[in-house]
């Protein structure tokens, strides 16, 4: 009965993600419709004749009603066809497939860093609320949020990568070891701005759990040490940070765009920056869709995780 409750909850959340995804697709499709400029002119060049432009419009399907164009777009997306880049040389799908692993590794490593940094500092800060350590961590957290990611990236390159030689100055690796090494500094730059937000939430959760009656009741029953911390503090305190971390994915993604440029990582963020400079709409559209879907998926996973941590949310 309880298990069906959990699976029911997961199923309902999955169903809710479907209309959300459709709205996303509609927005991404509409994005192209509202930006200034004529796609046909983009293809044919500014000196093309009206007849040529019209022929291109028919070829691109732009003469069709908008809703038909949308259905057509949905069909293409469903088959993984994102169109080609502006130069026509590469398929957008190929571009995404080659950049996605880089961005995924970057995000994964920086999520691990974020959780480690936030977890350690939150536990330290919560030891004595409003004590010296708590205040110092609070000041550091304010710095962390305030430091621009691109600047921190440059500082890490100049201050760590160059003098030590332990990390590449930029670019990506081709074996797991070199990939991880290349990801460390950019992931760190990314984590520094996100970790403080998570830390603050975790810290207040820990303080609250330690003051709770269930914590006292567990102590009265003889639970102590790490079992007390794990079962009656961290487990309860983790609930808000987990959903927050899911929400912070948007921040990590936009940070990834910046960091990939700073470190010259061949990921989706770098492709997006380049596409924006070249006004390459197919690429922008494809990447926007991928990023949005990633946010939907991560939030879905976050919701499910929260439900497993705190059964009260499954109503």
């Amino acid at each position: 009965m309880i298990h069906s409750g959990r699976f029911g909850f997961v199923g309902r959340r999955l169903l809710q993600a479907i209309p959300l995804t459709l709205v996303l697709l509609l927005l991404v499709f509409a994005m192209l419709k509202v930006v200034p400029g004529d796609p046909a002119m983009q293809v044919a060049g500014p000196r093309a004749s009206a007849a040529t432009l019209q022929a291109i419009r028919v070829q691109l399907g732009l003469d069709q009603p908008v809703w038909e164009q949308f259905l057509h777009y949905l069909g293409r997306i469903a088959t993984g066809d994102f169109g080609t880049t502006a130069t026509g040389s590469t398929k957008v799908g190929t571009l995404i497939a080659s950049g996605a692993p880089v961005t995924l590794v970057l995000l994964a490593v920086s999520t691990v860093f974020t959780v480690l940094i936030a977890g350690a500092t939150a536990l330290l800060a919560a030891r004595r609320p409003d004590g010296l350590v708590d205040r110092m961590i609070n000041v550091m957290a304010a710095f962390g949020v305030g430091v621009p990611t691109f600047w921190l990236g440059i500082v890490l390159l100049a201050g760590v990568a160059l003098p030590t030689g332990a990390f590449p100055i930029g670019g990506w690796g081709d074996t797991p070891a070199t990939v991880l090494r290349a990801a460390v500094l950019p992931a760190l730059a990314l984590s520094v701005s996100v970790a403080p937000v998570l830390m603050a939430s975790l810290r207040s959760g820990i303080v609250e759990a330690r003051r709770s009656e269930y914590h006292a009741a567990a102590q009265a029953a003889g639970v102590r040490g790490w079992k007390l911390t794990r079962g009656f503090v961290l487990r309860n305190a983790a609930v808000p940070p987990v959903s927050l971390l899911a929400a912070l994915t948007t921040l990590l993604l936009s940070g990834a765009v910046v960091v990939e440029s700073t470190f010259g990582l061949p990921g989706l963020g770098l492709s997006l920056t380049q596409a924006a400079q070249n006004r390459d709409f197919n690429v922008i559209q494809g990447l926007t869709l991928v990023f949005s879907l990633a946010v939907v998926v991560v939030n879905l996973v976050g919701d499910v995780l929260v439900a497993f941590l705190d059964p009260r949310v499954m109503v």
Binding site: I2, R211, S212, E213, Y214, A216, A217, A218, Q219, A220, A221, G222, V223, R224, G225, K227, L228, G231, F232, R235, N236, V239, L309, D310, P311, R312
Partner: protein, 341 residues
């Protein structure tokens, strides 16, 4: 009966160490093997803080500034460290079963959390023990309920889970902090019967903190009445309830409605209010509200003295002159209704 738990001269402080405020000053009491002891008083009297101090779970900012806590072990009273008695000797039932049960743990896991941490029980052993305990506290379907979450249970069932959690560690003393206050009257009655039954079956001692005199009357053998951080009177329940030896207890009892209390007249009340921990008067703290007070009361040192002709002990120097009509023994001492919980 031989003593099991003895609290002597307990002093609790809060605020800056230089100018502390004492919510509890020099409280002492003794609980015998198998005895139910009531600690009764109004909000702010320090009864709950006293109870929490017994197991060292004081709220943030309150500290123990003095006193001895002793538990009987191997035939002798010995001072204890909290780590020794938590989950091994002393158990505690909290007031709010909603907030005192971890919402992220299944009922069965919660009930045996103590012994699992303490004795390293295997998960499987803990599970079957949890079902036994839930059955002992009268859960209607213990096997299914062990798999449930606290929020899926009613208030009364949650309090039963709380009691099972405290019993899991096989305590010899059960501290109960107003365990029925958050429940409705019908459920209160069930929980009281349950505690009474468990106490009889297990030979447990119970320390019961409450503001409800009716609960004390039904469940307890002896009682200490607390006022403004001190015990003002202590004795056997039937004595204190029929021949109170302190004007405060007498006033409390007179303000308690019984079946025969005329409905058209207001209940008797003690004029004034209990002073807060920060502004307590010198001498007898009840004197400013007391109809029997003498000038000497304002300079009185607090001593719980034996009362001539009574088994109770009282802090009042005017015991001999209290007089007043004796309280109606029959109305106040209706027996605990029979039956099991």
């Amino acid at each position: 009966m031989s003593p099991l738990l003895r609290i002597t001269d307990l002093v609790l402080e809060t605020g800056p160490a230089a100018a502390p405020v004492r919510p509890v000053s020099h409280v002492g009491f003794e609980v015998a093997h198998g005895e139910a002891f009531g600690l009764v008083g109004e909000s702010g009297s320090g009864k709950s803080l006293t109870l929490r101090a017994v197991i060292g779970l004081l709220p943030e900012g309150v500290r123990q500034a003095g006193g001895t806590l002793e538990l009987e072990r191997d035939g002798a009273m010995r001072p204890y460290r909290f780590a020794e008695v938590r989950g091994r000797g002393i158990g505690m039932v909290f007031q709010e079963p909603m907030t005192a049960l971890n919402p992220t743990m299944r009922v069965g896991d919660l009930v045996t959390a103590g012994p699992r941490a303490r004795y390293g029980w295997s998960r499987r052993a803990a599970r079957s023990r949890a079902v036994d305990l839930l059955a002992e506290v009268g859960m209607p379907d213990p096997k299914a309920q062990a798999r449930m979450w606290p929020h899926q249970l009613s208030g009364g069932l949650r309090q039963r889970v709380m009691i099972a959690m405290a019993l899991a560690t096989e305590p010899s003393v059960l501290l109960c902090d107003e365990p029925t206050t958050a429940l409705d009257v019908a459920v209160q009655d069930q929980i009281l019967r349950l505690l009474h039954r468990i106490r009889t079956e297990r030979g447990l001692s119970i320390v019961f903190v409450t503001h409800d005199l009716g609960v004390v009357r039904r469940l307890c053998d002896r009682v200490a009445v607390m006022y403004a951080g001190q015990v003002v009177e202590t004795g056997r329940v039937e004595e204190v309830f029929t021949r109170p030896t302190h004007p405060y207890s007498a006033g409390l009892l007179r303000s308690m409605p019984t079946q025969d209390t005329p409905r058209d007249r207001p209940l008797a009340a003690i004029p004034g209010g209990q002073p807060g921990a920060g502004d307590r008067p010198e001498g007898c703290r009840f004197a400013p509200r007391c109809g029997h007070a003498l000038p000497a009361c304002a300079g009185l040192a607090h001593v719980l003295a034996a009362v001539p002709g009574s088994p109770s002990r009282s802090a009042c120097i005017r015991v001999a002159d209290l007089g007043g009509p004796p309280l109606d023994r029959e109305a106040l001492l209706s027996p605990l209704p029979g039956g099991t919980a």
